[in-house]
Symmetry: D2
Subunit: 249 residues, 4 copies
């Protein structure tokens, strides 16, 4: 049984994490802290691992305090700088405890990106479609931009030729945006949540990888995986793909 | 048994039409004409219906000649002007024969556009994706543009509110092109032929209509339908949707 | 402004309906009744329309009481017999008030079924896939079975030939179930809610119609449409397709 | 420049291979042999690599003869026994030449199967849909059965719990076939060629991997990859995944 404390426990993600930990047979929720609560050996109440879903301003302080309290830490809060990561890595080493920081805990999304990069060198064409609810403020999504960059890097590393595209006229700008040479298309449609579709094509064949994230629940398998693995991953690990031990090229 | 003559019989579409007529139990191929062949009562060899897949410069002359030869006519050649259509309508009336002109003989495509227009007033959001082979010169496809216009017209007629879209930043132009207020996205991927996907969304629900056209064969059911129906549709009929007797609103 | 009373207001669907009515600019929620509350002119509090999402045992009594109280009625409760429908129709006539009973308020689902029936005569092949969460007890879904039956009826009415299928060996039963001659496939996958995909094919072309229902929210546009239209649809109307005034064949 | 001889050069696959070799800048077609032609050092005309797309009865003899003639060999013919493979492995060792035998040269299909196996341990649910033209005699496809087996093996190796499925009633057999505990669904629809869709689901998220193979052309990138790599893969290699150097777990 692993004891878990949750920071940001009254936020939307934090509440979902508390519930997921409570529902897991091998985990025990021992503390729920939120803004204003100090993170100390006492308040984390014997936690083996602390999960932080707070805010960019607070997260680094939380992680350092949790390490000082003798805990491993799993972080879903974004906004980390290189300097902040280096500080955490040093503190983790000094404390003999481990930290996992991941910008994206959706397993399907992490896998899709990984597979797209593995497959890209074998195909002439690659384009990315991302589809979200219409309340989203920015386009494209960070995930779609990251996917395009991974595809571009994999193609560059394998010496892929430029993608075929005879488009001579596109007066309305329907061909989407170019990110590192990969076309990205963003849709905003009521009813959708967060979805991504990657198309890879050769003459006569197509490979499509699609992910659908329907709600916050979709991040829980990734969070729990990190909680279960953090004790065995020395130092600082950034990115769920490294936690998942996905075979690289 | 309906006797059929094909004009443009040595072109790619013409050859496919000749084969489809030959394969149909209720149709008989009686003449195959191409560039340089005159269209007369003799050369059409007793055809009840003439099918024209030639070139814009030749098609109007062919239709008038075929009417004069006592035939109904089915036309797949594009590039018609309003004046040309009026001339054909008058000639059809005088000859007591019928003409069907259709820019698109793909049943699935015609149905998809029709359904999109019927459904559009019931949804907050609508976007169109078209996907083609990378040798296509223009974007978006004519079909996608026509679909967007039909959706826009149906929404306007029913007094639909503007689609929700909170996008505040899209530096790369990933949100696609706006055609009559409807977002259209064009993909060019090796392996694809001609495909369209229409997404219609409300909070909590999505309706998606997709068509795939894999080869010229996909136009044959529409061509044969027109050949079989042209005798019963007096005067000039423009558009396969009218041949299909699809219920309007 | 239309005044609305909700019966079954503390149930899951009832709560969602109360919220949707409250959120609509042209509707006003005037009464929330649940089990144990009597339905009278006083308790419905001046409602023009009553919405019933209760249980099969209670619904007929509720409808008759609401008609007696001078209200139009919209019913989402299932389990109606022919005798019950006849009794309601007579009572509606006597009261000079109208009733809409619909087994399915998802607009996208009603449209998909309608479109599938319109399109079916034009295609050689048709198959239905339904995809649901793994807690669903029965397979296939009622919607998928109803879709298959509508497709079969439309094919029969138009004299369609049998679908091509050369399958000679299927030892594992992978070809799915036959409902009125139409293959239906049921998937149960974590993460899904309620989805249906209808494939219609000819040589060289495919038409796919897909609906995704992500949550109860998806039924609200259909419920509100019925509330807004019930005053103008004399007597008893069964099925949202008739409320939507979809053009038949 | 690699010299290539093709065996079965007048068959449908053989013709396509000859054309693909001719079109490749770094390959030269030096011999086209078919039934009745002997495979000798003279007839292969200086080929570095021989490609065999013949028939099960002939393929082993062809491979042994090609090895004796000093060539590497790429084989797409199916029907190999364990004894036959052992014999080829020994002959390759003795000749100091290499052999690649692959039952499936579609890159997208090989990648999809590989990715499905990598992803399967991270998801509660997995089901496979395969979609083919209606002239196919058997169901499910060999690829779908192989995919289901790979998913089952990956789940077993990682100690996955049984998939959730509350289905209590399925009178029509719509839940498809069970292959090693994985549900497989087979569709036969006009217009389709060969397609596969793998769904992997967790609460709140879905990962879908789809492949479309539209024609024989889709096998050429895999064949050419094998031709280019066979010189560097000592001995016998079975399966394109090993040629592609996909990272295993």
């Amino acid at each position: 049984m692993t004891n878990v404390a949750v920071l940001g426990a009254r936020g939307r993600m934090g509440k979902t994490v508390c519930q997921a930990v409570t529902d897991a047979d091998d985990l025990q929720l021992v503390a729920e802290l939120d803004a204003g609560d100090e993170v100390t050996r006492e308040t984390v109440a014997g936690a083996d691992a602390v999960v932080d879903f707070t805010v960019p301003d607070a997260t680094k302080g939380n992680v350092l305090a949790a390490l000082a309290a003798g805990c491993h830490v799993v972080v879903g809060t974004t906004g980390w700088t290189d300097a902040g990561l280096a500080e955490v890595e040093a503190a983790a080493g000094a404390a003999g405890r481990n930290v996992i920081i991941a910008p994206n805990f959706a397993l399907s999304s992490v896998l899709a990106m990984h597979f797209a990069a593995l497959a890209a060198p074998y195909f002439e064409s690659a384009e990315v479609i991302e589809l979200h609810h219409p309340k989203k403020l920015d386009a494209p999504s960070g995930t779609a931009a990251a996917t395009a960059k991974k595809i571009a890097a994999a193609r560059a590393a394998s010496g892929s030729a430029a993608m075929p595209d005879a488009t001579a006229a596109d007066p309305d700008g329907t061909r989407g945006g170019l990110i590192d040479g990969v076309r990205v298309h963003a849709l905003r449609v009521s009813g959708l949540t967060a979805h991504e579709e990657i198309l890879l094509g050769n003459p006569g064949e197509l490979l499509t990888i699609r992910t659908d994230s329907f709600d916050r629940q979709s991040f829980m398998p990734g969070v729990l995986l990190a909680v279960r693995k953090v004790g065995g991953l020395p130092g600082l690990t950034v990115g769920l793909d490294h936690v998942m031990d996905l075979p690289g090229r």
